[in-house]
Amino acid sequence: MLAKLAALRGHSTKIARGTLMCSLLITGAIAAEQPAHAEGINWRQFEGTSIVWAYDIHPYADAVAAQLPEFEKLTGIKVTPELYPDDSYWNKLTIQLTTKSPAWDVVGTGIQPAWDLSPSQLLEPLDGYLNDPKLTDAAYDYQDFFPALRTALTWNLTDGQIEPGTGHVWAIPHGFENIQLFYRKDILEKYGLKVPTTPPEMSAACEKLKAADPSITPLGVRGVRFWSSIHTAPVSIAKSYGVHDFFIKDGKLDTGLDAPESIAFHKDYVDMIKKCAAPSFANDNWYQVVDGISSGRTAMAIDSNMFGFWNDVAGKPASGKIAFAPPLHAPNAQNFESNIWIWSLAMNAASQKKGASWLFIQWATSKEVDLNGAVAGKLVNSPRTSTWTDKAWLDYASKPEFNDFVDTFKTVQDRAALAFTPRVGFGEAMNAWAVAMQKMVNGADVEKTLHDLATEIRSSL
């Protein structure tokens, strides 16, 4: 009996020990699991919601649209993309936001248009969402975006004007562009031309090219009557001449567009356009620039670098024929300058589905989606540093057909910066500059036109 009791006690002790060990293991396992749960968010918290995402017709949009089924599977949120041609999109965006229509939940924007939409807070500040652990996954890693891009999309409003660098986050970078000169290697080699580095060199090269083959347009640049034609070639090259769109004089904001540096730049630039650009310059937008370089009707172009990249992709008619170089600079300048454009995702402040919208923005700008878009050859300039250290992307972008894309990107990116002064009223002033540019290209006196332009801008300051 005693033996039986002893055996039973021993068995009970084993059971108790076993139970204790199991409990400890389970507790330990749960304890170990807890931090992982704290980092993750419930991606299905807005399941059943439908949102509208508006964007420009653009390969960057295609990169996200191609992965949309994954987002819908992950979250149960239905996303309807509304994509519009470039000019129409910006006008529609302005109307939708300023009328406080809730029809669009998430919108694509750049920094410059966002400045004009700031004073009425038509965009939802996103820092609150970024800092909410229930809404933002710890793996999202906002610090992974290039610091310059994060800073550019962060600003405060003081007396209705922009104070960049600190304050609210108004949009999340989704892709970006720096301005480069890209050219058809085959055409320049055929006619023995070197890649020009200054506007006068470009003018000379264009004259040679036109003499050799009148059917080729030497240079493709945007010329439409809209600020988008200023933010590529003109402002990048102008900066190397020392031109300032705005500066502070005696404590007051003033424009530098009628300064001697600006006159010198415009004389060279207008001369270059007359000798190099297509006769349809005034009607040419980026669509025409891309069409020209991809078809080989245009020998060179100054625009966003990814336009060259997309046409170098294997299987495209121009694959391997487009190479890259920094943008032109002033003849007496030590170095070039390159403006940047940041495609960003922002939230309409009038949206009634802000939680679902934020989950979409977060997903669309995540490391995985950016990397997938890049490797698919669409989202070329990822705003995330992690993409640019990822072997898959670097191996892809370094393929022979892309020529010197990666090296030129790194060279240009070192000097690429926002060339415009952050301010509300950007659109009005820059549209006026685009109109003035058309007038000068069509023969108006450069100094007088710039004087009139500066007077017009000053009257609205």
């Binding site: 000019d87 910006w90 006008n91 302005t94 109307i95 936001l97 300023t98 004009d116 939409l117 700031s118 004073p119 009425s120 038509l122 209705g160 347009t217 439409v224 009557r225 809209f226 297509a278 006769p279 349809s280 310059f281 005034a282 009607n283 009707r297 509300v424 659109g427 009005e428 549209n431 109109v435 058309q438 007038k439 290209v441 069509n442 108006a444 609205s460």
Partner: protein, 320 residues
């Protein structure tokens, strides 16, 4: 009021029958008054909608008196400052010139061509009958599609128009890419699109001229050209003018063709008031100034339509 206005009430010695007639008239008018309430109720929705439109219009006029900028929360009443700024602005007067040139030229050319085509349609030529439905094609195309189509065709380097010109040895024409030719090119697009409208209306007018009128002219010795000039043209003139009213209103307001091709450029060479108002309001976000340009455009449309309607009334009186 009704009695005072009737012939019965002015009679100094009314007869019994006249008094009875007067009473009957009063009763009938009373009954009519009852019906009028139903009529008022019936037209009330239309009147309310009209008032709604007028309210929106006057709200637009009010906005032109403010410094409203889209995206800026503060709005101040600034009186006629926007109009004063426009009067001092050379670009505004350029837009007025472009709008008038575009509207008047397009309508004049369309009237002449429309009359020619309508006369052809009214003839017994078999080919003309076959072409009747075909000529309506431009009218059914969306104006923005028309603009994009012509932009491609007018490309100085690769457009089909310059290719066709090259076949007959003509040098490339700059079309919409040069300030000197851009406005003429836009007028050409407008003419291509809307001439069928004139042709259609004038053709209906020509159909209304009966053969006996022509026969009478022929009996009096009128030849073909004289019959057209002195009989047909005066009779279809009201039709031409009524078509001109509609087209003038539309041409002074034309937006799609201008914006879809040149956006008002090169420079400001095609910056019609409608386009300039849009750019000022929605691209430059200066809605107050944009509204003032829209009001100026409205005044031009109103003046143009008023003059054409007066002309139409005068011609119609003369014809009838």
């Amino acid at each position: 009021m009704e009695i005072r206005g009737s012939s019965v009430s002015v009679s100094a010695q009314p007869s019994k029958s006249l008094v009875a007639a007067s009473r009957a008239s009063t009763v009938r008018k009373g009954a009519e008054r009852g019906i009028e309430w139903w009529s008022i109720a019936a037209v009330a929705p239309a009147v309310i909608i009209l008032l709604g439109f007028l309210l929106l219009f006057f709200y637009g006029v009010y906005q032109s008196l403010t410094d409203l900028k889209l995206g800026r929360p503060l709005v101040r009443f600034i009186g006629f400052a926007n109009y004063s700024a426009l009067i001092d602005d050379d670009d505004f007067w350029n837009s007025v010139r472009v709008t008038l040139t575009y509207g008047v030229s397009a309508v004049l050319v369309q009237a002449v061509l429309g009359l020619s085509i309508a006369k052809l349609f009214a003839s017994e030529v078999v080919l003309a009958r076959l072409l009747r439905p075909v000529i309506l094609l431009p009218l059914v195309l969306p104006p923005m599609s028309v603009a994009l189509m012509w932009t491609t065709m007018m490309d100085p380097q690769r457009g089909i128009l310059n290719y066709l010109l090259s076949l007959v040895g003509v040098a490339p024409f700059p079309w919409i890419s040069d300030p000197a030719t851009a406005l003429v090119s836009l007028i050409l697009i407008d003419v291509w699109t809307y001439t069928p409208f004139f042709a259609l209306i004038i053709f209906a007018g020509l159909q209304g001229i009966t053969d006996d009128i022509r026969e009478a002219a022929r009996v009096n010795g009128a030849r073909g050209w004289a019959t057209f000039l002195h009989i047909e043209l005066p009779l279809v003139a009201p039709y031409i003018l009524i078509a001109a009213v509609f087209r003038l209103i539309e041409s002074f307001n034309q937006f799609d063709i201008v914006f879809g091709t040149t956006q008002g450029g090169p420079g400001n060479s095609t910056a019609a008031l409608s386009v300039q108002a849009y750019i000022t309001a929605f691209q430059n976000l200066n809605f107050g100034r944009g509204a003032a340009i829209m009001v100026a455009n409205w005044l031009i449309v109103l003046a143009g339509a008023f003059l054409t309607v007066r002309l139409w009334q005068a011609v119609r009186r003369r014809v009838t």
